[in-house]
Structures are given as structure tokens and as C-alpha cells.
């Protein structure tokens, strides 16, 4: 006789029910449809990892740093629409997640953080690797939970996942004391549900919709302002339909890039501090602004006094607290973006009579064109690099970025046509976001979608260790470093507002990123001249796995147009002299 049959069965069969708190956590993730987790091991989270060891249907990606795990989970959430999950141990593991959680909070991205915690009996005693994680993350989470009972820990996790994606998305966190995850329980968690005190209004009030529709019909200079909520609410089709039928020019916020096709005649593209001149002219001169799923961030509005000063505002948002927070809404419509746009579409009978206005918008697109000149003998223009990458990749290619000048060029000069193809750190402005985000985006994307990470030299260096993860997981990502050996945006501001005093913004030495990539096991390319660009891009895209291109761009290149902080959107500067 060989091995007793009982033993064989135990080894192969999936567990019928859960036996520990940690298994309940894993079961809850499974019930919520989670497929990927991004994390880093450590003492207090070990029971959860041990339970994951048997969960073949859940893929865990070991990141180099917990911050990377949080950004990867965030990007996974942006691209897939399902909550991205990150894991870390207690203390430093949890605090390292904080930047990514705050980032997800500012950008309303669905994300769940699971953190280990010291055993319940030690909590409050300053134990090794103890940190008040729920206290620290309270202001930056939609909700957080301290799991105190092995019988309910699975439900806590299920609630956190459900809540992260519901209504206005956002990050949630469950703190998991080691004794709770290690303890025995036979309670299989139930269906993930949102808490009883959580309410979401899907449809806007009919009377309010009627009033808004009348205001819209009466407008002479209407503009649609598409915000990130259009993408998060999967309302891009409703928005496009409404814009096309009423022939209304569309301006987008940065998080909404891709919600409206930028190659369309009605597209005015991105507005705000580094928005196009024509978008800012349209916003400044419109008499009706239909804002959908946006929170009127200061980088969009500039000075509030001069923001769309002639416009009546229809504000569609799922979060009542966004209504009249920064800009007064004449017609507040609370509800889901797609549902309310459908309601409006039905209520608006006649499109506004706005031929003249459309002609004006078209003229502004000419007058304030984003076109630039190339001198083949001069250093590489970053705008050219972004356009070359765009041309070499498919329409559904995903762009992730860090934060700084490169991010603005990527926003301005890439033509976005599809939602969930722009992955960036908008509200928090987290340098180093690009590479870990590309890892999360790669795993959420379809196999045939290109994933391009556009980074700056300073920003890339902040999370470059995640290249080890991309190599280890053999992820097909192309990193394009727009390298000017400066913290470029800071340098640009110093030139404009600090008399060119380059305090702590100049790098006297920068690593050679192509060589550094090779040291990590990735493919490395460099491009210094215009002639080098096509080959470098082709080589990097053809490489099956992570590749890095070091583009040595013009160190003096600045981002224009530019509305100085708190300035008048209509008075955007086109050159440094105009600042």
C-alpha cells in the first residue's frame, strides 16, 4: 500500500470552511472577487501570508517597498475599476503605505489596504513595530477598521472591499492584529456589503434636472467639464453621447484624460494650470459650465474669483459634499454620473444655439495651438518624445507617470482617446508614482495593451527599486525617462518666481538610467539626439519585459501654457516673460 488515501485527500482538497482568522481574510478577498495583491511580508502580517500560501487563485506580487505596493494597488484599481489590494506588516510596513493611501484618497481611487498589527494584548504598549495605524490613516481613508474578533475579521475585510468601490470610490483599510488572524474561527465571511450607514444616491432629483436642462438649453456659450468621476463612474459613453448630440465643447480635468476623445473636433482637452490655452479660454468665457464628477481643485480653477466668472454652474456629483465646496453650484445634481447624464439627455430637448461659440472655440484651438518648433541640432524636446511614444503605441496604450514637468508633457502631448488609459497622481502629486503604478496597471491591463511609464529623472529615482519587481515578474513595461538632470518643475518655478536661484533642484550627477536598468536585469536604451529616438522606442517596445529609455532632453525646457498658482485661467502664460 502506498500513501493512505486520507492524507492524499487532505493535501489536494480545497478547505471546505475556514479555520483561522487569516483564512477568513483570504476567503473574504476571494468572495469579493479579488485576483491580485501587492505587498511586502513582515512579522505581524505573517499569518495572512501563510493563509495566502495555499490560495492559488490569488496572485500576490512581492514589491520592493510598501509604498510601491500601495501605488501598484492604486493603479490596478484605476485601470480595472475593481479595488486594488495592498498588504503590509505593522509599524513601518503600514506607515510606508500611507503615501499611497493618501494618494488614492485624493484621487478617489478604489483601494484596500490590509495591515498587520501587534497582538491585541500589546496594542497601546508601544510594542515592537507598533503604530496606531487606524489613527494615522483615519483622515486619508473612506473608512478603516480595527479587526478585534476572529469571527468577524472576514466580514471586516469584505466590507472594506465593498466600500472602496461603492459610490465615490476611495481607499479603505483593515488593521489585522496578529492574534486575531492566528486565532481559530469557523465563521466563513458572508457576502461583502457596505455598512448600513452608507448611502449612495444614484438618480438626481427630477425637478432639479428639469431646471438644469432649461439653463443648459438657454446657454449661448456652453462647456462640458468632464472630471475624473466620469471615468470612475464608467460614464464616458453617456458623456460623449450628450456632447455629440448637443454639439457642446468638452474640457477635461487631468484625472478625466481619456473620458472624451482628444482627437475630436469638440475636444478642448485639459484645462487648468498647465491646460491648453483653448481649454482655459473656453472655461473662462463660457456662460454655462456643466461639470461632471469633478471637485474644482485649485490646479484646475486657479483663483476662484476669476474661474468661469460668467458661467452658471451645473454640478453633477455623487458626493453631496463636493457641491458648492469650492465653486458655487447654481444647479446641483447629486447622483451617479452616467445616470444623471442620461436624465439630462432626456430632459434637454433642444441643444443650445451655439454655432458662434463653437466657431470661437475652434478659432482658439488655432490661436493657442500647442504646436512647437524643432531644431534638429538642438537638444531633444520632451514634447517630441511624448508624441513619438504615442505614435509608436496603440490607441489603448496605458500611460503612467510620476509627478513634475514630464507628467505635464505626458498629459499635454499624448492624445488620449480611451478611459482608464491615463494613470497618474493628480491630487497628492506623489513623485515616484509612475513605476509602481505601471506594475499595477500592467497586471490589470489586457495583454495586448502597451504600458508606458513616463517618468522624470528625479521622480524615477524615488521608487526605482520597483524595477527589480518588474524584472522578477517579467512585466512588459517601457519606462521613458525624460531626463533633464533637474527637479524640473521646481527649477521652472525658481526661474519664474525665485530669481533663478536653483536651491536643491540641480543634480550635479545623475545615474545613467540605461545602465542602471541593465544592472536590474531590464533592457536599457539611451537617446540624446532626434535620430536616436525611433530606434530606442522600437527596441524598448520590442523587448519582452521591462525596458528603460534614458531620454536626455533639453534641460531648459519648460511647461507651457502656465497659469501661476492662484492666477486667472484666462491669463495663462505662453512664455516665461508672460508670467
Amino acid at each position: 500500500m502506498g500513501t493512505p488515501p486520507e492524507t492524499e485527500q487532505t493535501a489536494e482538497a480545497a478547505p471546505e470552511g475556514v479555520e483561522t482568522g487569516a483564512q477568513a481574510v483570504v476567503e473574504a478577498l476571494r468572495a469579493a472577487g479579488v485576483e491580485y495583491l501587492f505587498g511586502v511580508q513582515g512579522g505581524a502580517i505573517m499569518p495572512v501570508y501563510d493563509a495566502l500560501y495555499d490560495a492559488d487563485d490569488l496572485t500576490h506580487v512581492t514589491m520592493a517597498h510598501e509604498q510601491g505596493a500601495s501605488h501598484a494597488a492604486d493603479a490596478y484599481g484605476i485601470v480595472s475599476g475593481d479595488p486594488g489590494v495592498c498588504l503590509a506588516t505593522s509599524g513601518p510596513g503600514a506607515t510606508n503605505l500611507v503615501t499611497g493611501i493618501a494618494d488614492a484618497s485624493m484621487d478617489s481611487d478604489p483601494m484596500v489596504a490590509l495591515t498587520g498589527q501587534v497582538p491585541t494584548a500589546f496594542v497601546g504598549n508601544d510594542a515592537f513595530q507598533e503604530c496606531d495605524t487606524t489613527g494615522v490613516t483615519d483622515p486619508i481613508t473612506k473608512a478603516n477598521y480595527f479587526a478585534s474578533d476572529p469571527d468577524s475579521v472576514g466580514d471586516d475585510v469584505g466590507t472594506a472591499v465593498a466600500l472602496a468601490a461603492a459610490g465615490r470610490p476611495g481607499p479603505t483599510l483593515v488593521d489585522l492584529p496578529k492574534d486575531v488572524t492566528a486565532a481559530e474561527t469557523d465563521r466563513t465571511p458572508g457576502e461583502p456589503t457596505t455598512p448600513e450607514t452608507y448611502h449612495v444616491q444614484e438618480r438626481a432629483d427630477e425637478v432639479a434636472v428639469e431646471a438644469a436642462a432649461h439653463a443648459f438649453e438657454a446657454a449661448e456659450r456652453p462647456v462640458i467639464l468632464s472630471g475624473g468621476g466620469v471615468i470612475k463612474g464608467d460614464a464616458h459613453e453617456e458623456l460623449r453621447e450628450f456632447a455629440f448630440r448637443t454639439e457642446t465643447p468638452v474640457v477635461t480635468t487631468m484625472p478625466a484624460l481619456g473620458s472624451f476623445p482628444e482627437d475630436h473636433d469638440l475636444a478642448m482637452e485639459m484645462a487648468g494650470m498647465h491646460g491648453t490655452g483653448y481649454a482655459n479660454m473656453a472655461i473662462t468665457h463660457c456662460d454655462l459650465l456643466l461639470a461632471v464628477g469633478c471637485r474644482f481643485d485649485d490646479r484646475l480653477t486657479g483663483g476662484i474669483e476669476t474661474f468661469a466668472p460668467d458661467a452658471e454652474v451645473i454640478h453633477v456629483d455623487i458626493d453631496p459634499a463636493e457641491i458648492s465646496k469650492n465653486v458655487h453650484a447654481d444647479y446641483p445634481l447629486i447622483g451617479d454620473a452616467g445616470t444623471v447624464l442620461d436624465q439630462l439627455d432626456e430632459a434637454v430637448e433642444d441643444a443650445p444655439d451655439a454655432d458662434e461659440w463653437r466657431a470661437q472655440c475652434r478659432e482658439w484651438k488655432e490661436t493657442y495651438s500647442m504646436a512647437y518648433e524643432i531644431d534638429e541640432d538642438a537638444p531633444l524636446r520632451p514634447e517630441f518624445v511624448v508624441e513619438a511614444l504615442d505614435e509608436a503605441t496603440g490607441d489603448d496604450a496605458i500611460v503612467t507617470t510620476g509627478v513634475g514637468q514630464h507628467q505635464m508633457w505626458a498629459a499635454q502631448y499624448w492624445t488620449y482617446t480611451e478611459p482608464r488609459t491615463w494613470v497618474s497622481s493628480h491630487g497628492l502629486g506623489t513623485m515616484g508614482y509612475g513605476l509602481p503604478a505601471a506594475i499595477g496597471a500592467r497586471l490589470a491591463a489586457d495583454d495586448d495593451q502597451d504600458v508606458i511609464c513616463i517618468e522624470g529623472d528625479g521622480s524615477f529615482l524615488m521608487t526605482i527599486q520597483e524595477l527589480a519587481v518588474a524584472v522578477r515578474e517579467n512585466l512588459d513595461i517601457t519606462v521613458a525617462v525624460l531626463n533633464n538632470e533637474y527637479v524640473g518643475m521646481v527649477r521652472q518655478w525658481q526661474d519664474a518666481f525665485f530669481e533663478g536661484r536653483h536651491a536643491a533642484s540641480e543634480y550635479s550627477w545623475c545615474p545613467e538610467f540605461d545602465k542602471l536598468a541593465e544592472a536590474f536585469g531590464a533592457a536599457g536604451f539611451a537617446a540624446e539626439d532626434y535620430d536616436d529616438v525611433p530606434d530606442a522606442i522600437e527596441g524598448a517596445l520590442a523587448h519582452d519585459g521591462p525596458a528603460v529609455i534614458d531620454f536626455r532632453i533639453d534641460p531648459g525646457a519648460n511647461v507651457y501654457p502656465m497659469v501661476p498658482s492662484g492666477g486667472d485661467n484666462g491669463r495663462f502664460a505662453l512664455t516665461e516673460e508672460q508670467l
Binding site: P195, P309, A321, K325, V327, R381, G556, Y560, T575
Partner: protein, 202 residues
Amino acid sequence: MSNGLSGPAPDERPTPQGRRTPEGVRIDPEAEAQPEIRRTTLSALVKHEPGVLAEVSTLFSRRQFNIESLTVGPTTDPDRARITMVVEEPEPGVEQAKKQLAKLLPVVSVTELGEDSIERELALIKVDGERPDEVHAVAEVCDARTVDVGPRALTVEVTGTEPEVDRAIEAFERFGVREVVRTGTAALARGTNETANTTGEP
């Protein structure tokens, strides 16, 4: 730095007529923007669980809402507590405070109490004990009660609206006030009006 884009300079562009206040409200360009400060009482019914008070107070601090007083206590339902806040904010600050409060998950409902609500505050006032008879006399006038009598100090308790308590403290100042403690305002809606919607429906 030589680069830039072409197009008319800021001064060569048309400018719109309108203007907004710093609060984002469109106004007559000639008008003076002068937001009015509003003082009001908010009552929040919350889940009676650890951390709720911290969540509410950090919300007010991180969003810079001006809070005058905050009281918290249990209700007849053991799972619910009531937080009463007096806030002072220019619009749209009060509306924002209500909506941000309502967004917190442990918050069941938020009500702004009207001017006719019943509001009470309690204060304990410790004064020098040299003139006990006079203290008793003032206490009687102020509807206060003497709750502790010692050879060197007397403590009186006074209950009333915030201005009534202010006036009482002022009245006792002539005896030398050693210490004062105030509870902050507790409030209920008058008559059969509900202070808080208990169903949790918005």
C-alpha cells in the same frame, strides 16, 4: 530659457465681465464680497463605538471648521450617542461641515437645529469663600445652586443658554473666580420636531 508657445499675450486677450467671491459664488463685479459669519448648532446622531469622537474632531481640525463647543453623551439607544456642536462659519462653511459630518461612516444623521431649539449649558464656578452670604444672594438671582461650601472657596452650578452662563460668570467675578468649567452646549429640537433622524436615511 527660450522655449514657449505662440499666441496673443494675456493683455491682448478678451476678458470676461464677471467675478466670483473667494467662496466661489458669482457676484456683481462691483459688489463687495463680504461673507457673513453664521453661528449655529449641529446635532449628530452617531454609532456609539470607540474612535467616533476622534473622527469627528479630526474632521473639524483638518478642514479648518471653526468649532465653538462640542459635547457628547449616550442616548436612550445603547448603540447610539449624540454629539452636539456649536460652529461658527461663513457660508458655505456650515453647509460643508454638515455634509462632511454626514459622510463619516459612524454618523447616522446630522441636523442643524433652528434658532428656536432648546439649548442648555452647565458651568461650575469656584469663587473665593470670604463672602458666602453675598455669593448665595447672587446665586439666587442667577438661578444658580451652591454645590460645595468650604472655608476658603465656594462652588456654584449654573445652567442656561450660553449667554446666560456668560452673564452668571460675570456676576460672580466680583468675588474672585478661582476656576470655571463649562460643558458646552447640549441641544434638542423644540416640541415634537425630531433632533435626529434615527432611521439613518438621509
